[in-house]
Amino acid sequence: MTTEQDFLARVAEKLGRSPESAPPPFRPSEPLPAIGPRGKDALADRFQMELEKINGVVHRVNDASEVAPTIVRILNEAPAADPGKSRAGDQDGAGTVGRTVVRWADPLLDEFDIDRALEQAGWQPVAFRQGDDGRAFVARVEQAHAGIVGCDAAIAETGTIVLGSSPLGGAEGNGRGSGDARGNGSAGGRGRTVSLLPPVLIALLRKEQIVFDSAQLFRRLARAPMPSQVIFKSGPSRSSDIENDLTIGVHGPGALHVILL
Amino acid sequence: MKVSLFITCLADHFAPQVGEAVYRLLRRHGVEVDFPEGQTCCGQPSWNTGHLDDARDFARLYMKAFAKSEYIIQPSGSCAGHVRYFYPEMFPEGSRERQEAIAIGRRTYEFTEFMVRVLGVKDVGARFPGKAVFHNNCHMQRELKVQEEPLEMLRCVRDLELLELPRPDLCCGFGGAFSIKQPEISTAMADDKVDAIAATGANLIVSSDLGCLMHQGGRIEKRGLPIRTLHIAELLWEGVQQNVG
């Protein structure tokens, strides 16, 4: 097998020099411009408009107390027969989905008393706790009707929510629920699959978490260690692989609801 | 004003009337025209087929023949594009020949480009009844970036209905030697183009490239379609005569 040394030596040789130890800093001839509106409301409006264009649903709530009832309402109204709901082992997509709802156990969701509201409405909330078996958790996530997560940030320009496998660091100021500045927030109670496997995804977003464009977010990410996974999710899963015909909910969730607080 | 005419090998061999039309239109607008000796072909066939050294010889020939010309007018967007866009590439950076190539490219114009941009003439006073589409060739639209000029001239032609062609950017499949080396693909592309043109209801294809016109016209003739092909200079000159007559 080729060693790192040989591989890099060949590249360097082709480039006509001896291997460099570290790359020179890259400074683009012009820095990226600051763009878009700054105001919280303008960003929220733009985010909503863009997300709705790509089949996402935005629920505006004004008070923390409205979050849990909104979640229950979304769950109760979620469409029943949809290819997005078909489960492994149920290849017609017509089987019943359990009453399980998985959610992050995370400070982003702590204050809304979600579990109690879910239980009262007949849903069974599940979250990962330290010490639980990961494999078993993923199996439960796979059987769940919906996943509930908190957003680490959002991008108005494209209607994108940003989810880390652990809290993102690097926030300017001391934004609530955005992890500490070094990005070492507890990873424990989240889980990548919560936002991925269930047919319905519900994400809680606070207005002040919205930035206009991705460059702002990348600069923030660069200020702290990266979580093991960060996703930008823009609308529900989609494919146009069959005769260029758009279909929603191929591998990921077929429905994306963002509760905007 | 004095200009030099580069007739192009295609027009010289197959469509001398196009050269005559260009000449007469230029004269009509008070431009003096000369026809430098020693001109043959821009060398595009050699370049495009990978005979790069041969193509350089043609470039040198052109640069020599037109060394003293202030404006060089061609009835072909493709050949003019080749001169302006590719000649500089043929010579090493910093060389004298590269400088010459860049300079001669700047002095080289496609016919409608010169009429509109340099002379400021859009209306030559032509009348030409018909339903036409304009086919812009690839080098002309992408390398010379000449798109609007021929359309502006055609819009001024009385009784000519200029129809919108969908996907005007799409190549018709001529491509020089490509049309002979890959005749099946080339013909499939021609059919697409001709079908799109027929669907507009046009009875006339106008272009500033004889290669594209030969290719489309030749296909049209084999298919027996009622569509005529005409070089833009020829249309304008015929139209001037019709209007005067």
């Binding site: 097998m1 080729t2 060693t3 591989f7 890099l8 590249v11 006509g16 790359p23 020179p24 890259f26 683009p28 990226l32 411009p33 863009e50 290819p83 997005g84 078909s86 796979e142 320009e157 496998s165 990873a187 424990g188 989240r190 889980g191 699959t193 991925l196 991705s214 460059a215 600069r219 660069a222 990266m226 996974q229 960060v230 996703i231 823009s234 989609r238 692989d241 005769e243 279909t247 909910g249 191929v250 591998h251 990921g252 | 010289d12 001398p16 005559e20 026809f35 043959t40 087929t49 041969d54 490509f178 002979i180 080396k181 080339s186 013909t187 592309m189 021609a190 016209g217 030749g218 296909r219």
Partner: protein
């Protein structure tokens, strides 16, 4: 002409398949128009100060990023590798396809892995990973809907972004029906639903997930996957081990550079402002996290890429595989991807394939181009693909790779036409030389038909104008006399 080469046979087959041509034309046109519309929107947004730049500006930025990265590629690779290791990943180096496949196999053997699931990746097509794994008795399942379709059909992708561009819903229903063991309806919902359910099972039981990477950020060792369906995210979230095969040119220096790329890639590929998923992976699952792979392996692949460095073709390595050149190519539009016979079809394939694999099998691809330049115009990195095709033709001709009759004809033209006296003589006598092939129309005008030898390629499907009895340069003298007489 002599016997048909395999390439020409494929071309013939594609051109005879109306079905395929209709499907390819429809989708390519659709993608082309969507891209055009979204780029026009981008220009408007940039004007309003609501985008990082218009297309031209972003393209210039992207070029600058890639130019810098490629110029220091060894150092960026080293930095990326160090970061990946720091994040807990394992880095491997493969000089060719065989080594890359071997590395994947060894990782699987060590883990006792038998079942793999793969997200959409062109580089694993390039190294024929599926065949290598299947030969060792492993199961590897494509999870991108389009890739899954062509895997069931035992084909290769016909497009780098839309692999099943050529398949109709009827054909797809038949392929899926064979897996289901019953007939399936042909509506998109049923077909996509079936694929979701079937592949979900595969995901849940896979031992290893295989991905490529659209970008790798050197400063953090972050792998980026751009998808719409979520297959990339599933592959990197559910199986206990992730292996990413990455072409060594995929690096960008900094996270911030992704902003430029992310503005260009989805717009160029599918006409979207952004894809549904942009997934950044920085190391395996961390302690306390419930899911994600326990092991993350990154295989950097050369496979001929280093031969392109520091040559006139270097910018070809800045390609981000968006497929815009395919969608705008008038030849691809006629043929679809399979006629090319290479993994990467269309303009980028025409240039990249001979560069990676040499001329022996691939010099003919260079002829599948009319040099219209639409590819370069639409390329988000501004790669001058048509210029590279000319350069490569130059190399091929220099090696004598050319049809002998074509060579003779072009050399004769060069000899005659670089001598103005000879040129004139030939031009004046041309109409005599073609007399046997000259036909007369009803209106008395003349044309050529049934030309011999290589010229038959033209006249089989098109008539040809007859050479003028008096070429223009002869007419010129008359025009001058006329002028003088005035």
């Amino acid at each position: 002409m002599s016997a048909k080469t395999p390439f020409l046979e494929r071309v013939e087959k594609a051109l005879a398949d109306d079905h395929l041509r209709g499907a390819v034309r429809y989708t390519a046109e659709n993608l082309y128009l969507k891209r055009k519309a979204v780029m026009a929107d981008l220009d408007v947004l940039a004007e309003k100060g609501e985008a990082l730049g218009n297309f031209e500006e972003l393209r210039a930025r992207a070029q600058e990023i890639k130019r810098h990265t490629l110029a220091h590629l060894d150092a960026y690779l080293k930095q990326a590798a160090e970061q990946i290791r720091k994040n807990g990943g394992v880095v491997h180096w493969a000089k060719d396809a065989r080594e890359a496949n071997q590395i994947v196999l060894e990782i699987c053997k060590k883990r006792g892995a038998k079942k793999l699931i793969k997200s959409k990746s062109m580089v694993t097509e390039e190294i024929h990973l599926n065949q290598a794994l299947e030969a060792e008795g492993m199961e590897i399942v494509e999870s991108d809907l389009g890739e899954y379709i062509i895997q069931l059909a035992r084909e290769t992708p016909a497009h780098i972004v839309i692999p099943a561009i050529h398949k109709t819903r009827r054909q797809i229903a038949d392929l899926f029906g064979a897996v289901a063991g019953r007939e399936l309806a042909t509506d998109t919902k049923t077909l996509a639903g079936f694929a979701r359910a079937t592949l979900r099972q595969k995901f849940m039981t896979a031992d290893v997930g295989v991905t490529g990477a659209n970008f790798v950020v050197a400063e953090t060792g972050t792998l980026c996957l751009v998808t719409n369906e979520g297959n990339g995210r599933l592959t990197s979230s559910v199986p206990p081990c992730q292996i990413s095969v990455v072409g060594m040119e995929k690096l960008v220096p900094r996270l911030e550079d992704l902003a430029v790329m992310l503005n260009l890639l989805p717009r160029s590929a599918t006409g979207q402002k952004i894809t549904t998923y942009f997934n950044m992976i920085t190391g395996p699952r961390r302690p306390g996290e419930p899911d994600g792979p326990e092991e993350l392996h990154v295989i950097f692949l050369d496979n001929g890429r280093s031969n392109i460095l520091a040559t006139q073709y270097q910018e070809v390595l800045s390609c981000i595989r968006c497929g815009a050149c395919l969608n705008s190519c008038p030849v691809y539009r006629q043929l679809g991807g399979h006629a090319y016979g290479s993994i990467y079809p269309g303009p980028i394939g025409t240039v990249l394939t001979p560069l990676l694999q040499g001329f022996d099998q691939w010099d003919e691809l260079l002829q599948a181009c009319s040099l219209c330049g639409a590819c370069a115009e639409n390329c988000p990195l501004g790669i001058q693909l048509h210029k590279h095709i000319i350069r490569l033709r130059g190399e091929a001709v220099a090696q004598g790779r050319e049809h002998p009759l074509m060579r003779t004809a072009l050399k004769a033209v060069h000899f005659a036409w670089t001598r103005p006296g000879v040129y004139k003589f030939v031009a004046r006598s041309a109409h005599l030389g073609v007399k046997p092939f000259t036909r007369r129309r009803e209106d008395g005008s003349e044309y050529l038909d049934n030309l011999p030898s290589i010229a038959a390629g033209w006249t089989n499907s098109r008539t040809m104008p007859a050479p003028a009895r008096k070429p223009f340069h002869q007419r010129w003298a008359e025009l001058q006399r006329e002028e003088g007489a005035k």
